[in-house]
Symmetry: C2
Subunit: 273 residues, 2 copies
């Protein structure tokens, strides 16, 4: 998917919501557990109930790998289901990979080619040659960890490296890499005050923003400092939407939660754009 198509989708749906599919068997409705593939059935119901309110789905790889072969099957069925039924959706493999060049190439092929996700999250610690293999895929996107939403972000990401924070150095350096136009960045909603600083470095890039909801970030604060003329934000919510209910009405309740966020976003878009 091109960035232009993503922006068009945001305008059509009046939403920049990404729904995280972090599916935990201990949290989904128990009536699904008797089915052959509870994770896929859960995802399918959530996707069918929310696809017109969000622009992106983000399965978190850990929650699928934790179930080995069965989990990998659920993941394949989920991405195929989205691509076949809702091809306008921007899909994110939340994998946080990154390794030496030939290994990163294998990961990139796995997520961007074989599974056919539109994008994948990547960790920056190993530098240029660990990220560029992901950037080589046309009309695919690499979402680089910059400033994450967890407490541990302060251990290294905000530390000073030659008069700037490490996360700033990561973003600046990444702009010099080959095919850097395919980069987006993860910036946690729990650190809204940092968005203004980040927008000085990457005014045009899309930012994937976790941490709204369960982790305590504020949507309006993030938009105030992080939005650009093309919106430039994908706001992720996982648990608050997909676990809104664990009864038979789980998909309906997920839709209600997604709708609340979409309406808040529509209001923000009206004022700002």
């Amino acid at each position: 998917m091109t960035t232009t198509q993503l922006i068009q989708q945001i305008q059509n749906k009046k939403s920049f919501l990404c729904i995280g599919l972090d599916v935990d068997l201990q949290k989904i409705p128990s009536h699904l557990l008797t089915l052959e593939d509870p994770i896929f059935e859960f995802n399918k119901a959530i996707i069918d109930a929310t696809h017109d309110l969000c622009v992106s789905y983000k399965p978190n790889m850990a929650f699928y790998e934790a179930h080995g072969l069965k989990g990998w099957t659920s993941l394949q069925k989920t991405i195929n289901y989205i691509n076949e039924n809702y091809p306008e959706i921007f899909t994110i493999a939340d994998a946080k990979r990154g390794d030496i060049g030939n290994t990163s190439t294998m990961y990139a092929k796995a997520f961007l080619e074989d599974l056919n996700f539109d994008s994948v999250t990547v960790a920056p610690y190993m530098g240029k040659d660990s990220v560029e293999p992901f950037l080589a895929f046309e009309n695919k996107h690499t979402i680089l960890l910059a400033l994450t939403s967890n407490e541990g972000a302060f251990d290294f990401q905000t530390q000073n490296v030659n008069h700037e924070a490490l996360y700033q150095k990561v973003i600046k350096t990444s702009k010099t890499w080959k095919n850097s136009q395919n980069l987006m960045y993860v910036v946690g909603a729990t650190k809204a005050e940092y968005f203004a600083e980040i927008r000085k470095i990457v005014p045009d890039s899309f930012l994937l923003v976790p941490g709204v909801g369960a982790q305590g970030g504020s949507l309006s604060e993030v938009c105030k400092y992080g939005m650009n003329e093309a919106v430039g934000l994908l706001i992720n919510s996982s648990r608050a939407i997909i676990y809104a209910s664990n009864g038979a009405d789980f998909a309906e309740k997920a839709r209600e939660e997604a709708l609340l966020l979409q309406q808040e976003m529509e209001g923000i878009l009206k004022i700002n754009l």
Copy 2:
């Protein structure tokens, strides 16, 4: 596996060799490709031919994930084969994972519990709460990326953070984390001169050292600066061993290459310990 058991194995085998199982279908002998599971058959032959010369195997997750369900099956069969037939071997899931706490917990369970690896490689960028879930498993080991063997290591890892390099800060900080006794570190062989500095911070920890062979690092240089009284090194070689031949004699040739390294290690151990 306890660290004491690993050290005992090193003493018994007079080897601190780790063999990387980075299996690429385009590089393995073509006669294997007609079998039902070429990757597992390749690994099985390599393992049977080299298990007495090495103390560790390190499957690289990317090379398995790249084949989806089939790759995951090959991985499961490989780790089960090692655990059942050569339980003394220290197994490493080279996964380079790391995410917010509940996600890292899922990854840790997948690799350390379900697949039953002895250890897993983890990226430090997201800090304490992204690594501690891996450290919580008793007699399992978390191998934290410190200073990697690739060119991109100079982008961030060697940058100065308050008068020390980022990789030094990562190692020092990680020592303050809960269950830090379960930590080992990745330090690339291509940067032998850094080992002395690292040994000042972690004199007793095991270091996993990639980059000998294909990437150009020198075994004797690494040992000169990196070895401690309990050896404290696992030297990884992947391509130079497993792709020594792509004919019918691939396992035999892999053994010859592994034997050369084991003998060099035996010589170093005689002089140093």
